[in-house]
Symmetry: C2
Subunit: 114 residues, 2 copies
């Protein structure tokens, strides 16, 4: 297996979809649409500013859609995955699963190396 | 699908393995062991310093091993994936494949949004 596609072409995309906050937000939204503070509670350790910026980037790339319920009082803002965003769930879930299974081994290796 | 494992636990690992240079280096080494300059030629646009730092991080995490052939003149340094590194190839290949298939769509979405 070498690199599918041209490195220079996919590198900018990888830096966006491989970003740790993006990975977690995509997986959390894969369950169902959610509101800002709900996402923030589930993505531990993310700041309000980072969540705002990451969601804006995902909207710009067409991976997440934002819906305003103006008839609510106060108005609601809900985020959901687009069809394109849904296609990213499987590869990101596999990466997260790998990280969850190997985090202890990696931490032990890093501790030994330091 | 929600997030496998605890967010706070896997986030540090994700930021390392989801890094764009890490993704490309792991896939390039999945073919066979390679020397520094060979890796640098194949990972377009990476600086010498960034390649050195990324390889050092991969070694520390136990994903890449480094072998010195001191009997060569000049001595050779070769990098290869460890068994743990090999287990990361499939999820990273899937992520790269997704990026290669969707980079045009994402660029078009981003252009429309700006």
């Amino acid at each position: 297996m070498s690199v599918p596609g041209e490195c220079a072409r996919i590198t900018p995309i990888l830096s966006r979809v491989g970003d740790k906050w993006t990975v977690l937000i995509i997986l959390i939204l894969s369950e169902h649409p959610k509101r800002f503070n709900q996402i923030r509670r589930e993505v531990e350790d993310i700041s309000q500013r980072m969540l705002t910026m990451t969601l804006r980037g995902l909207e710009r790339d067409g991976l997440v859609a934002r819906k305003v319920y103006a008839d609510k009082n106060p108005p609601w803002v809900e985020y959901r995955l687009t069809d394109l965003g849904q296609t990213l769930v499987a590869p990101l879930f596999a990466l997260c699963e790998w990280a969850a299974e190997n985090c202890d081994t990696i931490d032990a290796n890093a501790a030994r190396a330091s």
